[in-house]
């Protein structure tokens, strides 16, 4: 959701082209000051609240119609956060400082103006809602594209901001669809999501109306969104809550999501085409129970993996590859057990994944990756097909490393020593790994895996 915390008033902007330039500059400055103080407060209070910043800055830029800004937002790559006392969670944000008064103001069609009917200024949420409504009514995503491309062209927003806007609109749109779908009593499986999700929706997405914003896909944005949601999650968490948020559903878009009906609450599962097809094959009435059970199991698994990634127990890539393998295994088992393959013609199998899936898998990986400090090695981990042990190996190594850490903690406590020094251990292990690689004791990819595990701790 937008702006779950912080002073809402800071985000109310008068979004009009008509305010004098000077006034807008002055207001921008004062807002910036307010923001900075709010930010420092917030940095102390919460891990990350990046997307709020984005909202604000983006809207600020919209508001300052005449001016363009070089909003040099540098959404900080979050460091491995889950040793909170040690990492620096403050983001470095530089609010726009330059105003180019030579730029033209925005021109918008009336329905897309940034003002309410009664003339009162719009909040950020209003804007997003407005756009979403428009898209829904016209059933045309092009509405958004039009608006955003104008903004971009005029240099009023950056790509970052455009993406943020896109995600928020997507979310709002999804809400709309859901509400309307509910109203119309669309047939489909009931949502079997029993966990409370706080502010989350558990709706699927409607592919036809929305495609993943791949073009402007931006890792940083995702990170912020996810961070925001996690902040919520930590506040709202109960035993059953999944780490799922509405934003999730839109971050990746839905390519195979054709198969997800909004009521299913299955948006998480869209990345498991084989599992999906399995579910689809259980479409008779007597299969309902089984279907629901499967869904619950799968979701629990996914949540578990997410949780592990979140808490740094495994790296994002490991999480992804684990889930990928899971799906592949489902395909195999299904084939064996049901005696039929669920593979559709456009699903090319391990060698050539359907482009969309690839993107979405990448999106998922990238999304998870952004919850953490970006690992130095940005090349993709070996594909499972080339080294069938790779995921198993990572898990084994991870398990071993965890045992060591646990033992160190306990051991040092028993002996009354200070807490072991993780960074020293990490350095030592990195050195050893390099030495082992050099001597041919371990392969380079194994060494990288190990280093990666350590740096994710």
């Amino acid at each position: 959701m937008l702006c779950p915390c912080g002073d809402k008033t800071v985000y109310n902007r008068q979004l009009t082209e008509e305010r004098p330039l000077q006034e807008q500059i002055a207001e921008a400055d004062s807002v910036k000051a307010a923001l900075q103080s709010a930010e420092s407060k917030r940095s102390a209070a919460s891990k990350d609240a990046g997307s709020e910043q984005d909202d604000f800055t983006m809207l600020k830029s919209l508001a300052d119609g005449q001016k363009s800004k070089e909003t040099t937002e540098v959404p900080v790559k979050k460091e491995d956060q889950y040793v909170p006392d040690e990492s620096d969670s403050t983001k470095s944000r530089r609010l726009a400082e330059d105003y180019d008064s030579t730029k033209n103001g925005m021109e918008y069609d009336d329905p897309e103006s940034f003002r309410q009917v009664d003339g009162t200024p719009l909040t950020a949420e209003d804007i997003v809602q407005k756009i979403a409504n428009k898209i829904y009514e016209e059933d045309d995503r092009g509405v958004f594209d039009r608006i955003v491309s104008k903004l971009l062209k005029l240099g009023l927003i950056t790509d970052n901001q455009a993406d943020t806007l896109e995600y928020q609109v997507a979310e709002a749109l999804q809400d709309l669809i859901t509400k309307n779908a509910k109203n119309n009593e669309i047939e489909g499986a009931e949502s079997n999501d029993q966990e409370t999700r706080g502010e989350q929706d558990d709706q699927g997405s409607d592919t036809d109306a929305w495609e993943p914003p791949r073009r402007r896909y931006n890792e940083d944005e995702d990170e912020e969104e996810e961070d925001e949601d996690e902040v919520e999650d930590e506040v709202d968490r109960d035993a059953e809550e999944e780490g799922d948020t509405p934003d999730n559903t839109w971050d990746k878009g839905t390519e195979e999501g054709n198969e997800v009906s909004p009521e299913d609450g299955l948006q998480d599962l869209q990345y498991f085409p084989n599992f999906y097809r399995l579910l689809k094959s259980l479409d008779s009435e007597q299969d309902t129970q089984e279907r629901e059970t499967l869904i619950t199991i799968m979701k629990t698994l996914i949540d578990f993996v997410k949780m592990m990634v979140k808490y740094g127990t495994i790296t994002p890539e490991e999480g992804v590859s684990y889930l990928e393998n899971l799906d592949a295994m489902i395909a195999m088992q299904t084939k064996n057990k049901l005696g039929k393959s669920l593979v559709l013609p456009d699903f090319a199998g391990p060698n050539g994944k359907n482009l969309d899936e690839d993107d979405n898998t990448k999106a998922e990986a990238a999304k998870m990756q952004k919850e953490y400090e970006n690992l130095k090695d940005s090349t993709k981990e070996d594909q499972p097909s080339t080294e069938t042990n790779q995921p198993g190996k990572s898990e084994t190594y991870l398990e071993a490393i965890r045992k060591n850490i646990e033992w160190l903690k306990k051991h040092n406590k028993d002996e009354g020593k200070d807490d072991y020094d993780l960074s020293k251990l990490k350095d030592f292990m990195d050195q050893q790994v390099d030495s082992y690689i050099e001597k041919g004791i371990i392969a380079k990819d194994e060494g990288d895996t190990i280093k990666r595990i350590y740096s994710s701790l």
Binding site: T396, Y397, A400, I401, N404, W407, K439, G440, I441, E446
Partner: protein
């Protein structure tokens, strides 16, 4: 250059190392013929270092590539020692703190790959036994038995028979790379006790392997026959299959008449020239026995747990045997270590030598012994020791060099002369 199973071996060792990095280290002693690393996992409280006075121990498995049980057992053992250490098992903690344990799960990875690659359940009795060159590694070591038997008759050194070892080894074209690597390893590290793991039968076999007369079966006792029997029993007694007196032979027509209490003298069972076991004993200070651990050379994976259960206690207990007999340091009067000093025991025609820090270990069965330390240029010192079953008895030696003694004598003489002259002048 390693197959899937090679990677799994490595993965297993690396996992142990990752779990217990402060007490383990992986190293390689060289490459097989086909370029596979001969990996060793070392376990001690100070991996990578020889601590003066701390005995060195090794297990080597799978020198016959198709004898696979030992290979798996050493992996289990590594995991076990690491886990137990972390769980606070006092025995294991002491063992690791006081011993440097080296585990080589596969001395013949090339052969293993070949054996393992055979399709189907039943593995051929011979495929993968030898290395990639077709060399049986357990016949490939320099035959020192032959030399010792000559020396027994005609006099000569009773140990450390391979003179100028490094040169002889490197120039010997008949030696397989695996053999060479192990020989270098033996020369570099002052191993005290060792076992090599095989399959195809179930028994603990001790030196000598080669018969004195060249006949096919003949009890061929070494000077340490008593101790070797004790060592072999220390293994077999904890293995319920090995020590079962009612155990039928692995194959109907097998001759296991030499087996007793689960142990056998090598020559009494059948003559083996050029084996690694005897090479250890006759080229270095290391006592090695040969453990045959399974009737089936390459059994199904699902049987491995049973083999582990059968052998776990034996494997640990055998390592503990390294803490027996006498041990200590040989130094000069200034406290400097004397390396390569000779430590001999009256009545046992097999001498030890001290390592670089002047440290030595002499495995002995319980009894009373006279232990002597000597070195060129020094005066020999003899000490009487009563040796229990365990732990090892600490016996240090301070050797006076000949020069020092001459100097002393000269001073004594001077003193006497002075006294005499004073008396005479009185």
């Amino acid at each position: 250059a390693s197959g899937k199973r090679g990677r799994e071996l490595r993965k297993a060792l690396v996992s142990v190392w990752l779990q217990c990095p402060t007490i383990t280290r992986i190293y390689t002693i060289g490459e097989s013929f086909e370029g596979r690393e001969l990996l060793v996992l070392e376990m001690s409280d100070n991996p990578g270092t020889h601590e003066p006075g701390e005995p060195e121990f090794k297990y080597i498995a799978n020198m016959h590539g198709n004898e696979a049980v030992g290979r798996e057992l050493l992996i289990y053992l590594a995991q076990y020692l690491c886990n137990q250490y972390q769980q606070g098992n006092e025995t294991i903690i002491d063992l690791i703190h006081n011993t440097r344990i080296h585990l080589m799960p596969s001395m013949n990875p090339d052969g293993f790959e070949k054996a393992a690659s055979q399709p189907g359940e039943i593995k051929d009795w011979f495929v993968g036994r030898s290395n990639a060159q077709g060399v049986d590694l357990n016949r490939n070591f320099p035959d020192l038995d032959r030399i010792i038997y000559i020396n027994e008759r005609e006099g000569g050194a009773n140990n450390h028979l391979l003179q100028n070892m490094k040169k002889a080894v490197d120039e010997n074209t008949k030696l397989a790379p695996e053999t060479k690597s192990v020989i270098h390893w033996i020369m570099d590290i002052p191993f005290v006790l060792s076992a090599n793991l095989h399959g195809g039968d179930v028994v603990a076999n001790y030196p000598y392997d080669e018969t004195r007369t060249g006949s096919t079966h003949e009890y061929s006792a070494s000077p340490d026959d008593v101790m070797f029997k004790s060592l072999a029993r220390a293994y077999s007694m904890y293995n319920p299959v090995m020590s079962d007196p009612q155990r039928p032979p692995c194959r109907k027509n097998d001759d296991d008449s030499s087996f007793k209490d689960g142990i056998t003298n090598g020559g009494a069972w059948y003559s083996v020239p050029g084996g690694m076991q005897d090479f250890n004993y006759l080229s270095s200070n290391c006592f090695e026995i040969t453990l045959e651990l399974s009737c089936d050379k390459f059994p199904n994976e699902d049987t491995l747990k049973n083999y582990w259960d059968q052998n776990r206690n034996s494997l640990v207990n055998y390592i503990e045997q390294v803490h027996r007999g006498v041990k200590g340091f040989v130094r000069d009067l200034q406290g400097n270590p004397i390396s390569n000093a000779t430590v001999s025991v009256e009545g046992i025609d097999h001498d030890m030598t001290t390592a670089k820090d002047g440290d030595y270990w002499r495995l002995l069965a319980p009894g009373n012994y006279k232990v002597a330390a000597s070195a060129p240029g020094y005066l020999t010192v003899i000490k009487k020791v009563a040796v229990p079953y365990s732990p090892a008895t600490r016996v240090d030696f301070e050797l006076e060099s000949l020069m020092e003694r001459k100097e002393e004598e000269r001073e004594e003489l001077m003193d006497w002369w002075k006294m005499m002259s004073e008396t005479l002048n009185f």
